[in-house]
């Protein structure tokens, strides 16, 4: 304990010398260095030099350059935007053309379909008509044949009836002339 106080006391004496020295220094620079007016001309002179140099450097070289860079960038951006706008318009146009083409193609397709349908319809109609005609011809032919058969049959019936009547009359022992028999048969067949 006493040892530490002793060393502390030593330090005090040692630093007291420092303090005195510093005090002498401070007295020389009159307390606050900021209020030491003897340094003012020096500081003001060098400050003016520094400000003038900075002003010249900035206003002659740096600021026009930076302003130019920023303006360049702005114009580049504007140009790019304009180009992008143009491209976008082109894309819109292309899309419109594509849509138009699509619509045209669809119309064309519809037309082709309609044409094909009409062709098919025509063919169909023709075929139908031909078939109808064939059918009608066949039907007429058949009807003709039926009529023929019917007529043939009626004639056969009349002949058979005449033959039968002649035979019956002959069997009864009488003689009948063919003329009256056929008239009688015709009358009966009619009736």
């Amino acid at each position: 304990m006493s040892n530490t106080t002793q060393t502390a006391a030593e330090t005090v004496t040692e630093t007291a010398g420092h303090a005195a020295e510093a005090a002498g220094h401070a007295a020389q620079s009159a307390g606050m260095p900021q209020l030491d007016f003897s340094t003012f001309p020096n500081q003001i002179f060098w400050l003016v030099v520094a400000l003038v140099v900075i002003y010249l450097v900035l206003s002659r070289i740096a600021l026009p350059r930076i302003g130019g860079i920023i303006a360049d960038r702005q114009s580049t951006i504007t140009n790019d935007l304009a180009a992008a706008e143009e491209l976008k318009a082109k894309a819109v146009e292309a899309e419109k053309a594509y849509d138009q083409a699509l619509v045209d193609a669809r119309v064309e397709a519809n037309k082709i379909i309609a044409e094909a349908r009409a062709d098919i319809q025509k063919d169909l109609d023709k075929a139908t008509a031909k078939a109808d005609a064939e059918i009608a011809a066949k039907a007429a032919e058949s009807a003709g044949r039926i009529d023929e058969i019917r007529a043939g049959a009626a004639k056969s019936v009349a002949e058979v009836a005449k033959d039968a009547a002649e035979a019956i009359v002959a069997a009864m022992g009488a003689k009948a002339d063919a003329k009256s028999i056929s008239a009688a048969v015709a009358a009966r067949l009619k009736g």
Binding site: T4, A8, A9, T11, V12, T15, A16, H18, A19, A22, H25, A26, S29, G31, M32, P33, Q34, L35, D36, S38, T39, F40, P41, N42, Q43, I44, F45, W46, L47, V48, V49, A50, L51, V53, I54, Y55, V57, L58, S59, I61, A62, L63, R65, I66, G67, G68, I69, I70, D72, R73, T76
Partner: protein, 256 residues
């Protein structure tokens, strides 16, 4: 007793860092003598050239990192001038940008260890503030003639109050350069002095047992103050610039 010992044992010279002295030895400081202020102003100039001239050398449409910093600074101040002071103030843009660059670089360069902070001196900030004040006043009178005086004649106030208000306005107008300069210098000086005070506490551990507690605390405080000073360094440059813009707006458009 013990505390007295310790305060004697610690070297408190928070203001020594602000002493202007000749750079190459010697005692006399003439107006042309290169001093430590000269050295750090030269560093500021070199930094400005490095950022704004060398950094933008590529003139790239897609900027490099350093070029985008330069463009950011340009856009920041440009927008500030345009928004606050109006479009017709843009012809003062190089002037305002010069002040901004000088202050912001001085503040940041001054934060380097062993550096000298030029903007912590009333002489420096007062010169800039007076330059702004004179510019604004001259521009105001050249642009508006006697109409510039309407800045002090608040036409929206009742007639009886106007002379009093005019007096107050005139006083506040002339206090502008004072507050403008002392704000910057005071902020920079205060921060650096406080850091220095904490730094003076840091070697306490070599002197006394209580330093075990004090030294880490003071180092922590230095770190915190340093972070705050980084913020202050930028904000004070911003405030100086924006107040310049506000004053310029008053000069260009005194009627509102």
């Amino acid at each position: 007793m013990a505390t007295a010992e310790h305060s004697d044992g610690l070297a408190f010279h928070p203001m020594d860092q602000f002493i202007v002295k000749p750079l190459f030895g010697g005692e006399t400081l003439n107006w042309y003598t290169p001093s430590n202020a000269t050295l750090w102003m030269a560093v500021v100039i070199l930094a400005v050239i490095a950022l704004f001239v060398l950094g933008t050398r590529g003139r790239a449409i897609v900027p490099s990192r350093i070029q985008s910093v330069a463009e950011l600074a340009y856009g920041f101040v440009h927008k500030m001038v345009e928004d606050v002071a109006g479009k017709d103030a843009l012809k003062f843009f190089p002037y305002i940008f010069t002040l901004f660059c000088f202050i912001v670089f001085s503040n940041f360069v001054g934060l380097l260890p062993k550096a000298f902070t030029t903007t912590s001196h009333i002489a420096v900030t007062a010169l800039m503030a007076v330059a702004v004040f004179l510019t604004v006043t001259i521009v105001g009178f050249v642009k508006n003639g006697a109409g510039f005086l309407s800045l002090f004649w608040v036409s929206s106030a009742p007639l009886a109050l106007r002379p009093i208000l005019a007096l107050i306005e005139i006083i506040s107008y002339f206090v502008r350069p004072v507050s403008h300069s002392i704000r910057l210098a005071g902020n920079m000086m205060a921060g650096h002095a406080v850091i220095k005070v904490f730094a003076a506490f840091a070697p306490l551990i070599l002197i006394s047992g209580i330093g075990v507690a004090v030294t880490p605390l003071s180092i922590l405080a230095i770190v915190a103050m340093y972070a705050l000073e980084i913020l202050v360094a930028f904000i004070q440059a911003y405030v100086f610039t924006i107040l310049t813009c506000v004053y310029l707006k008053d000069a260009l458009h005194p009627h509102h």
